[in-house]
Symmetry: C2
Subunit: 464 residues, 2 copies
């Protein structure tokens, strides 16, 4: 069975067994089963627990062998010591995809834990089975109503075009939750945990061909064979951007680990170089990850870095200009023809320059359209940012931005804050028209710079 | 009249005249008047407009002179050319505080604009009057139901202990709106605009004595006499932290200004040194400003930098450890006695170390209390971070943190995300107990590092 078929069983299973399904609401084996049901999984569910005949309205089975039908994905939520038998039974039943939520393996740092994981791997490899985890939070595919995880909060996330592949379940959760909070949708999310015999390079290979995924986000801590990821990434980034956040950058200062600091810090530098060489965009925080992902999920990559800044408030324009400079963007020089056009629409109280000061004209839809058109049609402008503090009447400006996108606007990001959610409905509609929106001026620049960075990556990959 | 009396008239006026009050809803003179009323100003309001006898249910006056009573604050919302006469009339009527919303002065970069502003200043200085602005968004004091501004969104902000003093009205708005969105309250906010004859040093001197203000936030672009601010700040920071965000760091790349780049970049380095020497905390984004302000608004400064990290998810703990290192915090070495105590409460599946892995024990209130107590009572720990992804049952951990604060916890910040607002009510109650809460692990570290940075500033200022 090839990798695509195997991972289709993970992300699009027709049937799932939950080994260790429980009737006790505080047990992970209950929560996982309950999440499958609550999130509306449309396939068959087979709870497996020898002590139960029925759970959450479903018939329970005493063992994997007792399940009468084919099982695409087996979720395993039982103590580590018992997983070996379970995996053997899965293998004997021809199950090719398993998801081991349980911990107690290599992450323990003990010989017992390492041995258990090695045995899992041998059994899985011997039968052509893929094991997700162990020690993982599971798999999430909202477009297919699949929440195979204990992480109930994922039910708040909507389907979209951004995939999350994480070594850590916790970081996977922070990232998926942050996507949800930032009005972004998830195509697939997967926690790889201890990566028994399924690793980043394989999932990325699958996601490269997944037409639901436009942007791939990685959180990773350490890889045994980073060159495998790098090799795959180098090809995938020609089609889709890969953003990577590396955790575990430094071993910290208790005496036991201090002696390793130098070596490990060196290791992070190695990763940074490897990320850059293989065309991945490396980020330094979840915020940066989300901001760049949002831009790339909605807008095309761009090769030019000359930015026009259109701001209602001069202060926001200045901060944006500062951040542009910091991130390697250049303020476009507007042509004299553009300035002459702008002079007709910009208030006589404002100078015509870049940043373009929209000021009180932000309440005038037609003036805003004319201002934006003049700037966008200047051949010296590659990209733009439009920014305003939320103030009811300035929504005219946002309507002008939204209106113009249909005629092939240059790539643009928007800053529109939303105090206490006051502008959330407006933001939703701006983003529905394909324009990424940020609550703060600096973050709108981070997003725009991501489009330019990815443009450079595509250009470089074409030259190799 | 001394500065305190003058600025009390600005922030606690008993009566306000609105010169240029309008009956047309799209006019700034209407919006300013309407905001005063809507936000529940409790003093007298005197609209001034010779063309109106009544506006928004209030009697209108043809001129300042026609107002029968004393006016504490005059808001001026008329074209720039007419402000000279208005200010002369204010001076003749003995008004000591004026707020000029109108633009068209020095910010125009024209001789006319500069001359107008110089005349305003001469008149004001000659009569002992302070002019806020011109070219300002106004003044906001939610604790006194005062919204003397066109910025209606400020009505979403609650009263609290954080003051905002901004050269730019737009940046003042972004910051106040961000405070509101981050569950933080405002003591006073003021846009200084062109700083006709009221500047940062004077407002900070006032805020130093304002018992409603615990933290002072500045946004500034350029000062003619930075040493005046530095001198005042050096004293004020002994009592209250001052955070400063400097905009206009670099002149950007159109040809006309390129030749200045070197000089201006040098200027920012000068400001950075000046901020550091005078004990102000310099930040590089609104997000950083908010994150440090939140910590300082709720928690005390601290001198030690040895941090205990308590995380439900290992990945979050690792990212926090990375960020601690980046910001100069040190992972505390837990004593063997502490480790022995922790061993009793932490899952046998987890090692006992720092970061402390709370994992599934996060759902057990008593275990959480015992874990936190053990760490907090370790004399090698100065400060702590408690972090979890939002997942209903982990609220037990948050209740444990909240519960323990009453017994004099060491300074602590919390990371608890809130996908789509799902945990907002919990965050509200955690913060009511005095614990600053952040949506992402890295940001909780930024806040904690701010407490340590301010601790260092207080220590240094005591040694001078």
């Amino acid at each position: 069975m090839d990798l695509t078929d195997l991972l289709n069983r993970v992300f699009y299973p027709k049937s799932i067994a939950v080994i260790g399904a429980s009737a006790k609401p505080d047990k992970v084996g209950f929560i996982c089963l309950s999440n499958l049901l609550e999130f509306g999984f449309r396939g068959k569910i087979y709870p497996v627990n020898p002590d139960l005949s029925e759970v959450l309205g479903l018939k329970a089975y005493p063992s994997i062998r007792a399940i009468p039908d084919e099982v695409d994905l087996a979720m395993i939520v039982i103590p580590a010591q018992q997983t070996i038998t379970a995996i053997e039974e899965c293998a004997a039943s021809g199950i090719k995809a398993t998801l081991i939520i349980s911990s107690g393996f290599r992450e323990m740092g003990t010989t017992t834990g390492q041995d258990l994981q090695a045995r899992l791997r041998d059994i899985a490899d011997g039968s052509g089975m893929k094991v997700i985890g162990p020690n993982t939070l599971g798999v999430f595919n909202p477009g297919n109503n699949l929440l195979a995880s204990f992480q109930s909060s994922f039910s708040l996330a909507r389907a979209g075009n951004t995939a999350v592949v994480s070594q850590s379940g916790g970081m996977c959760s922070y990232i998926v939750n942050a996507l949800a909070s930032h009005n972004m949708g998830v195509s697939k999310a997967i926690g790889l945990g201890n990566r028994c015999n399924l690793d980043f390079d394989e999932v990325i290979t699958y996601l490269a061909e997944d037409d639901k995924t436009k942007v791939i986000l990685l959180y990773l801590e350490g890889l045994e064979q980073p060159q495998r990821l790098m090799k795959v990434a180098r090809e995938v980034v020609r089609k889709k951007p890969i953003l990577v956040y590396k955790g575990g950058r430094e071993e910290l200062s208790n005496e036991a680990t201090l002696s390793h600091t130098g070596a490990l810090a060196g290791e992070f530098r190695f990763y940074e170089v490897a990320f850059a060489q293989s065309g991945m965009i490396s980020v330094n925080s979840i915020t940066e990850l989300i901001d760049i992902a949002k831009a790339l999920s909605l807008q095309p990559a761009v090769s030019g870095n000359r930015v026009a800044v259109l701001s209602v408030q001069a202060g926001g324009g200045i901060v944006i200009a500062d951040k542009c400079r910091e991130l390697g963007l250049v303020l476009a020089e507007l042509s004299s023809a553009t300035k002459a056009r702008l002079r007709k629409f910009i208030s006589p109280l404002n100078q015509v320059d870049n940043p373009v000061d929209i000021a009180w004209k932000a309440t005038d839809f037609n003036a805003c359209c004319n201002i934006i058109n003049a700037v966008m049609e200047d051949s010296g402008v590659d990209i733009a940012i439009v920014a305003t503090v939320f103030w009811g009447p300035t929504i005219a400006l946002m309507e002008a931005v939204t209106n113009l996108t249909k005629d092939g606007l240059k790539p643009v990001t928007v800053c529109l804050d939303s105090p206490c959610g006051a502008a959330d409905a407006h933001i939703e509609s701006i983003e529905e028209s394909g324009i990424p929106t940020y609550p703060l001026p600096e973050r709108a620049v981070t997003g725009l710079a991501g489009l330019v960075e990815y443009g450079g990556i595509i250009r470089d990959s074409g030259q190799k």
